[in-house]
Subunit: 345 residues, 2 copies
C-alpha cells in the first residue's frame, strides 16, 4: 500500500514483551501504529473504552484480552479477572456495564476440569457485577501454540445523563483520589510464579468497581476523569492523564495507601509499587470541593475503605507527574520504560 511502517524497523523489527507491558514501548506501538492508522475521533479520546451515541443513549464499548500466568493465582483466576477487568474499564468510562462477550482461545490438551472452574468463576463474577455474559466464541489451538487458556472479554454499557468522564475536563486544582491500597495484584501474581515463589499472604485485589463508582456518580456526577491503574500501575495512568491534558500532576508519597507487607516485598525485590498492577482500584480526578465528600462515600464501602486523596492537578510540570517523597524532596515519576513483569493480566 506504499505506507511505511511507523515503528522504524531499525529500532524494533520484532515485537518484544515490553510492547505489551503498558509502558513506553506499548504506548509507542499504540500511538504510532494503531491510533495513527485506525485514526478516528472515538479512538482519539484514548480512554479505556470508546463512547458513542445510539439514538438518545450514550454507550461505552471496551475490549481486553487476558493472558495472565498463572491462570489461578492468590485471590482470583483468569476468568473473574477477565469479567471484572472489562466491567471496570466500562465503569471508569462512567458507564453502567450491562453486557459482556467472552472469547476463549484454548490450548489443545487443556484440562476440562480447569475450564469448568474458570466458567464457574466467570459466572459468579458476572453475577457479582450485575452483568450478563450474552455472546461468545471458542477457538482451540494446537498444543504448544498457546498457554492453557487466553480469554478476551468485550463489554457494552450505558453512560447516564450528566456524566462525562474525559481528560479534557481536568483542571488545575482538581483533587486526585485512589480508592485503596496499591500494587496487590502484581505482587500476588509475582508470588505465584514458579521462578519467584515466596511465602506471602498477599492476594490479588481483583474486584468489580461498578457498584462503588455508581454510588459516587449518583451523588457527584461531575467527576472529571477516572481510570483503573492496571498494567503499568498508578504511574502509567497518571502519566497518560498528565500528557493528554498537558497539565501537571503532583502527588505525595506519604498519602499513597500501601500495605506494609507489599511495601516490604517491593523493597526486597527492588520494585517500585507505583508501577505495579492493580485490578480493583480506581483513580478519580474531581473538583476540589467535592473531594472530601467523595472520599467519605468511598470509605463507607468495603472496596474503598482505604481510599485516600493522594495529590492534585497543578499548572506547573506540564505533562509530568511529580511526587513529594517521604523525605520531602520532589522526584519525577516517569512512565514505565520497559516492563517489570510480563503477563500480569
Amino acid at each position: 500500500m506504499g505506507l511505511v511502517c511507523p515503528i522504524p524497523l531499525t529500532d524494533y523489527d520484532k515485537i518484544l514483551m515490553a510492547h505489551g507491558g503498558g509502558g513506553t514501548l506499548s504506548h509507542q506501538l499504540i500511538q504510532k501504529m494503531f491510533f495513527s492508522h485506525f485514526n478516528n475521533e472515538l479512538l482519539k479520546t484514548e480512554h479505556d473504552g470508546a463512547g458513542f451515541s445510539f439514538g438518545n443513549q450514550r454507550i461505552a464499548f471496551t475490549t481486553d484480552s487476558y493472558v495472565v500466568r498463572p491462570i489461578f493465582f492468590p485471590g482470583g483466576d483468569i476468568g473473574e479477572l477477565a469479567v471484572y477487568g472489562t466491567v471496570n474499564d466500562l465503569a471508569v468510562c462512567g458507564a453502567e456495564p450491562l453486557y459482556i462477550s467472552v472469547g476463549f482461545i484454548i490450548e489443545e490438551g487443556f484440562s476440562m476440569d480447569e475450564l469448568w472452574k474458570i466458567v464457574q468463576s466467570m459466572k459468579a463474577a458476572a453475577d457479582r457485577a450485575s452483568v450478563k455474559i450474552v455472546t461468545g466464541d471458542t477457538k482451540v489451538v494446537d498444543r504448544g501454540k498457546g498457554d492453557k487458556i487466553y480469554v478476551n472479554t468485550s463489554g457494552v454499557g450505558i453512560i447516564p445523563q450528566g456524566v462525562e468522564i474525559s481528560n479534557s475536563r481536568i483542571k488545575p486544582g482538581d483533587k486526585i483520589i485512589i480508592s485503596g491500597k496499591i500494587a496487590e495484584h502484581g505482587i500476588a501474581i509475582l508470588s505465584a510464579r514458579e521462578e519467584f515463589e515466596f511465602e506471602t499472604s498477599v492476594k490479588s485485589d481483583t474486584a468489580p468497581l461498578n457498584h462503588l463508582i455508581k454510588k459516587v456518580l449518583e451523588k457527584y456526577p461531575d467527576i472529571h476523569m477516572m481510570r483503573d491503574p492496571t498494567r503499568g500501575g498508578v504511574s502509567s495512568v497518571l502519566n497518560e492523564i498528565a500528557k493528554k491534558s498537558n497539565l501537571g500532576i503532583s502527588i505525595r508519597e506519604t498519602e499513597i495507601p500501601i500495605a506494609q507487607d507489599i511495601k516490604a516485598i517491593c523493597e526486597i525485590l527492588g520494585l517500585d509499587p507505583l508501577y505495579i498492577a492493580n485490578e480493583g482500584k480506581v483513580i478519580m480526578l474531581l473538583p476540589s470541593e467535592q473531594a472530601d465528600s467523595v472520599l467519605q462515600i468511598l470509605k463507607s464501602d468495603p472496596l474503598g475503605e482505604h481510599a485516600a486523596i493522594i495529590g492534585e492537578v497543578v499548572e506547573e510540570h506540564h505533562g509530568r507527574v511529580v511526587m513529594e517523597t517521604t523525605i520531602g524532596s520532589n522526584r519525577i515519576v516517569d512512565m514505565l520504560s520497559g516492563e517489570q513483569l510480563p503477563r500480569i493480566c
Copy 2:
C-alpha cells in the same frame, strides 16, 4: 462450588482440537458448559450475536477470535478476516455494523513489518465495510506460547425497525438461498498449509456482507433467518437451524453453487464441500413468495452473482437436513462430528 463439570470427564478430560472445530464436540461444549451455566435469555437465542435494546434502539453485539494459520493466505489475511468476520456476524443478525474493537495477542518475536501489514489490512477492511475500529487492546505472550498473532474482534451495530432475524420465525415452505459458491475459504487455507501445499488458484471468499444484506433488507425486511456458513460449513449452519426450529430442511445438491476446481479438489482429498468454511457467503431463509425477487437483488451485486435457491423448510424430517443428491437419492446431511481442518478462522 459443588457443581459437577457438565462434560463427563470420563469422556473428555482434556480439550481436543475438535472442541473448537464447529462440529458436534464444539456444540456439546458450548451447550452443556457455557450456555447452561452462563444461562440467560439473550444467550439462548443462539445466534451469531446477542440482540438487546438500549432505549428505543435495538443493538446487536458479537465477538470472535481469529487463530487462522497461515496468517497470510490466498485472498486475504487474519486482519481483514477478523474485521469481515465480525461485520458479517452482525449483518446476519440483521444489524448495520458500526463499531469494532480489536484485541491482539502477539507472540514475542513477531515481525513488526507483518504486524504493520495486518494493521493496514484491517483499516482497509473497516473502510470497505463502513465500520470504525474504536477501541483495542494489545497483549504480548512469550515466544512459544502463541503462534505469531491471534486477533479478537467484537462489534456492535443497530438493528433497523421491522427487521427480526430469528430461528423462531422459520416456517415450512420458507425458501433457502445461499449468496454464492461454497467452500472457497477452507480450500484456500488448505492450499496454503505447508503440509498440504498444492497448486491451485483458489482464493478465500472473505468479504463484508453488510452492504449486500442491507440491499435485501431495505426491500424485504421480512427475511426470517440468516447465518454465515463459516466453521463447519453449510451443513453445520443448516443443522443448527433445523435442530433449533425443530423443522426439516430439504436441499438439492444440483442447486448448490460450487466452482469446478473446488469440487475437483474436494473429490481428490475426500472432503465434503458442505462441511468446508466460507467467509463471504450468507444463507437466508425467507417467505417463498419473496425468494425470486431477493435472488435478483443478490445476483445484481458482485458479492452475490452466483446466488441460488438451494432448498426449503419442510414439515417432515424434524430437526434434520436431507439432501436430494445428483443421482436423485436422499441422504441425511449430519453435523460435522469432529473437525476436518483445524484453525480455519
